[in-house]
Amino acid sequence: MTLKTWRELPIGCVVSEPGSASEYHTGSWRSQRPIWDNTKCIKCGICYVFCPEGCVQQGEDGFFMANMDYCKGCGICSHECWPRAIKMIEEG
């Protein structure tokens, strides 16, 4: 990302692009990642609700997955998943 000069700054440094933080990918922080076992998933959506990143999404098939661009690997989804459908595995 190129940095703006002082002349290019918006007046009052107002940020007028809502949600532009998504340009930054926090997925690089991750040391472990969640893996869904859809045979155990009951589609309750608890993983979606409890994700601090808001990066767990429901697919058209009703199953859930995390956007790895943002998933920080906190493990809350796995820890909270009642039917134990989400497993955390080490990255790399």
Partner: protein
Amino acid sequence: MGKRVGMEVAVAVAEAVGLCNIDMAAVYPITPQSHIAEHLSDLVADGKIDAEFVTVESEHSAMSAVIGASGTGARSYTATSSQGLMYMHELLPIASAMRLPITMAIANRAVSGPLNILNDHSDIMPQRDSGWISIFVENGQEAIDMSIIAFKIAEHKDVMLPVNINIDGFQLTHMVEPFEMPTQEEVNQFLPPFIPHATLHPARPVTMGAFAMSDYFTEIMKAKDEAIKNSKKVILKVWDEWGRLFGRNYKPVETYKTDDADILLLTMGSMGETAQMAIDELRVKGTKAGLVKLRLWRPFPFDELKAVVKNTKKLIVTDRAVSFGGPGGPVFSEIKSALYAETQRPLIYNYIYGLGGRDVTVKDFTGMFEKVLADTGNQAADTYEFWGVRE
């Protein structure tokens, strides 16, 4: 052309602000500002102005609330004094960095301690570097005029900065003076509606006051510095326009009998009128004395000041605040540094006076002149003196 009225200056300031179609005001009581707050709330209570009047629990919250309101695009006003201004201090550079055109009256009063409710400039001087346009007025008429003008300057699309109007506490705020109050029609004609650069409204969600680290902080400071420097053009233009409409002309540096003067006195605020009498007395005695009144404190009017003092031999700068352990009063050190690069510059003398409401008479000014005239000039006045202090 306005109405000829006589009233207390603080009340008149509130009346003038009442003509400006403000949307919101948040004011906390403090002597000697309180009459502005009281009269503004009267105007709101009587339905004479259609605004939200927020009776905050502190000056810190007064400034916070006007920042919030200004962020929504509301024309927002506050007024304070002394400790209240010190309490707001944290927020002043934030308001200017966010480029919110808030206007504020300051009934200048000494800063504690010890507690002293009377007039000097020790409250505004610590706010010097907050990025606000800072204007001093000399009398009630100027206080009224600047209170209206401030909105137009602040909200100009090429400015978008907060403005403070400095009105000497008690010595000016509590005087009953005759003046011309512009009519509502005249103000409507002069003051366009406020068009904000961004607003806190869901129609177009923005983030204001974002967090910036070292990669952006320097650029943000530079942009703010350029903004306030550029504001001078607009200030001059708006003052010109006011002059055309109302016949009262304002300049960043006002002068009185300076053209042929060998020795000049520089004042800020309400002392100007007393100083003017001193000049007249000295002129009668044959001293080529003149007076410089600094109206615009920020952005500092370098060019105008240099032009005025260029041909004088001696310049007496008066200060109504102390920079403890520093190079002299804040106005003095500013003017000295402004003139440093000039090949032709006067000797500069600094007197700190009128602190905490200490009375200043014509005699005090003539006394300063006598002392400076007696100086052979070689001492070059590298220091400052507390005028009238009991040794």
